[in-house]
């Protein structure tokens, strides 16, 4: 299938559903090594995103024309509704991603560029690098896998799928780490043995992108 603006919208709605469905799990992860609000924060944000998307779609001049428009809407809405660390980080990620998706549909190289832009945005704001037990760990794994599959000639969906799988593994890989950024770093050694909530939510968001792609084009 083509990763077009309909896909982008479907991605966002699928992501919102996934966040709601996993709200309590995310909260529990954050309760273990943070302040127990990550699920609620993201849920609040994505519900606002869906509302905003509905409004825009219902507007007389029609919905967003480009993939980047959808991502920008996500960015600004998350920025103004999530708060906490995740709000600005995801906000910046989607904002940077939107800038490399200024077209009606994107192909494999743009998927890679989108993921890279998101990661760079997060790193620029949060100053975290891989291995610090943050969402960066999931994004970095996704970017690496996406680049590899794209280099091997995979299509957009294949690239996305590789990214989502890698993000999932990247999130799991945060479990043994000792956090050195974000709220979990206050726990020192006690942060080891728990999965980073932001890395887990990153994996959820990328999985939603795959699900949204597959929904239109059942294999």
């Amino acid at each position: 299938m083509t990763l077009d603006v309909e896909w982008a919208e479907r991605w966002v709605r699928t992501a919102a559903d996934a966040v709601t469905a996993n709200r309590d799990e995310l909260t529990e992860l954050d309760r273990q090594i943070g302040d127990g609000d990550h699920g609620a924060n993201l849920d609040r944000g994505f519900r606002a995103v869906v509302t905003r998307l509905d409004e825009v779609a219902a507007a007389p001049d029609g919905g967003p024309a480009q993939v980047g428009d959808v991502l920008k809407l996500v960015a600004t809405t998350l920025m103004s509704t999530v708060g906490g660390a995740a709000g600005p980080l995801y906000g910046t990620a989607f904002l940077r991603a939107s800038k490399v998706c200024g077209r009606e549909a994107i192909e494999a190289p743009s998927v890679v560029a989108m993921l890279e832009a998101a990661l760079e945005g997060i790193e620029a704001r949060g100053h975290a690098r891989t291995g610090e037990k943050t969402m960066v760990d999931a994004w970095q794994a996704a970017v690496d896998a996406a680049g590899k599959v794209a280099g091997e000639g995979g299509d957009g969906v294949a690239v996305l799928r590789a990214a989502a799988d890698a993000a999932d593994a990247g999130a799991t890989a945060t479990i043994p780490l000792v956090a050195t950024k974000g709220r979990a770093s206050y726990l020192g050694e006690r942060s080891a043995g728990h999965e980073d909530p932001g890395a887990r939510s990153t994996a959820l968001l990328l999985r939603a992108a795959v699900v949204a792609a597959e929904a239109a084009d059942p294999a």
Binding site: I33, A40, S80, A85, G87, P88, T180, G182, R183
Partner: protein, 348 residues
């Protein structure tokens, strides 16, 4: 009064309802602010969508504006400190969640009378990032903004391995003293300089006896056995640095005060402000016991306590526990501390 009066809808859900005096937990922050606005109409004005609180009457002409903010659940911080001699605006986020830039930006702009604004930010990744963006936006609108970051919590090592020390109870002292500097007419650089001097000289450490429950989460932020306490907690329901058996006030106070004094490298003969802050659910009488013990311990080291504050000022919902804060004083800081203040939570 018929008993049915209370038989309305109440909370829904599988588990026992949370015991909180709230209607919809998701609206807790705005519902509380609405009551706050009604109770203190002479002092504050509350704005919604986005939510922020300004001083009644708006920015004071010729005065540097002071804005602070952060997650809710720490009341009276920050809205309770809006008023003469302290803050011009406060920005409450969701419970334990830093506010968003679109709330912070208008609060900054509303506090500017042309003399610039000092943003007082507690050192949490979320607060720092959201304020950063808001400050950029406000600057783009022509407001001169300086930012200081409060990081008084010695429970967290200030190292490569952490997000840096957290901002906790010491924030009140920064807001009071910087507020007095602004009120006496210091310019933005001056007010920021005073705030930075306070930040450099203030350290805190806290203990939780029981955890707090975030309304929309519905269960405690961490679990503590009946005979355990958590030393080195923050104010967001995060677990602390270590868990120890429940002990006496003297021992607990010592465990809190010692790292504070050491980090400050306080020496005999120095003057200090001693602040014992309640986390919300501990009786005032116990805070005074802790205060007495801390005072004794400082006296033993020859450190003088010339100013004091005891009460629930930077809380963590209904958490039981307390924190001990020490601020190194000098003549100027003492005078600024003593300067008049008229807010909902602090008045003299």
């Amino acid at each position: 009064m018929a008993p049915e009066a209370l038989d309305g809808e109440g909370y829904q859900g599988e588990d026992a309802p949370m015991k909180k005096l709230l209607d919809d937990p998701a609206n807790a922050v705005d519902d509380s602010l609405a009551g706050f606005a009604l109770a203190h109409a002479d002092l504050v004005e509350v704005h919604y969508a986005p939510t922020y609180v300004t001083r009644a009457g708006g920015a004071v002409s010729g005065k540097v504006g002071l804005v602070s903010g952060g997650g809710s659940g720490h009341e009276p911080l920050h809205a309770g400190f809006v008023g003469d001699g302290m803050l011009d605006a406060a920005v409450p986020g969701a419970v334990f969640t830093s506010p968003t830039p679109d709330q912070i930006q208008p609060a900054i702009q509303a506090s500017d009378s042309g003399s610039g604004v000092l943003a007082i930010v507690k050192n949490y990744t979320g607060d720092v990032l959201n304020f950063e963006t808001a400050v950029e936006l406000a600057e783009a609108e022509g407001v001169e903004v300086a930012t200081v970051v409060v990081d008084d919590d010695v429970a967290v090592e200030n190292s490569l391995y952490t997000a840096g020390r957290r901002g906790v109870a010491g924030t009140v002292l920064v807001e009071k003293i910087a507020g007095a500097a602004a009120a006496r007419g210091d310019d933005l650089a001056g007010v920021r300089g005073v705030a930075e001097r306070v930040i450099a000289g203030v350290r805190s450490m806290g203990v939780a006896l029981t955890p707090a429950t975030v309304p929309h989460v519905g269960r405690p932020g961490f679990d503590l056995a009946d005979d355990e306490i958590e030393i080195g907690i923050g104010i967001h329901g995060e677990p602390g640095r270590r868990r120890v058996p429940m002990s006496t006030a003297t021992e607990v106070t010592q465990a809190l005060l010692e790292p504070v004094v050491e980090d400050l490298t306080l020496e005999a003969g120095e003057r200090t402000l001693l602040f014992v802050n309640g986390m919300g659910g501990t009786p005032l009488s116990e805070l005074y016991v802790v205060y007495g013990r801390a005072h004794d311990l400082l006296s033993k080291r020859g450190v003088e306590v010339t100013r004091s504050l005891v009460g629930n000022y930077v809380t963590s919902l209904e958490m039981q526990g307390a924190s001990v804060t020490v601020l190194r004083l000098d003549d100027e800081l003492e005078a600024l501390w003593d300067a008049p203040v008229r807010t909902a939570a602090l008045q003299w």
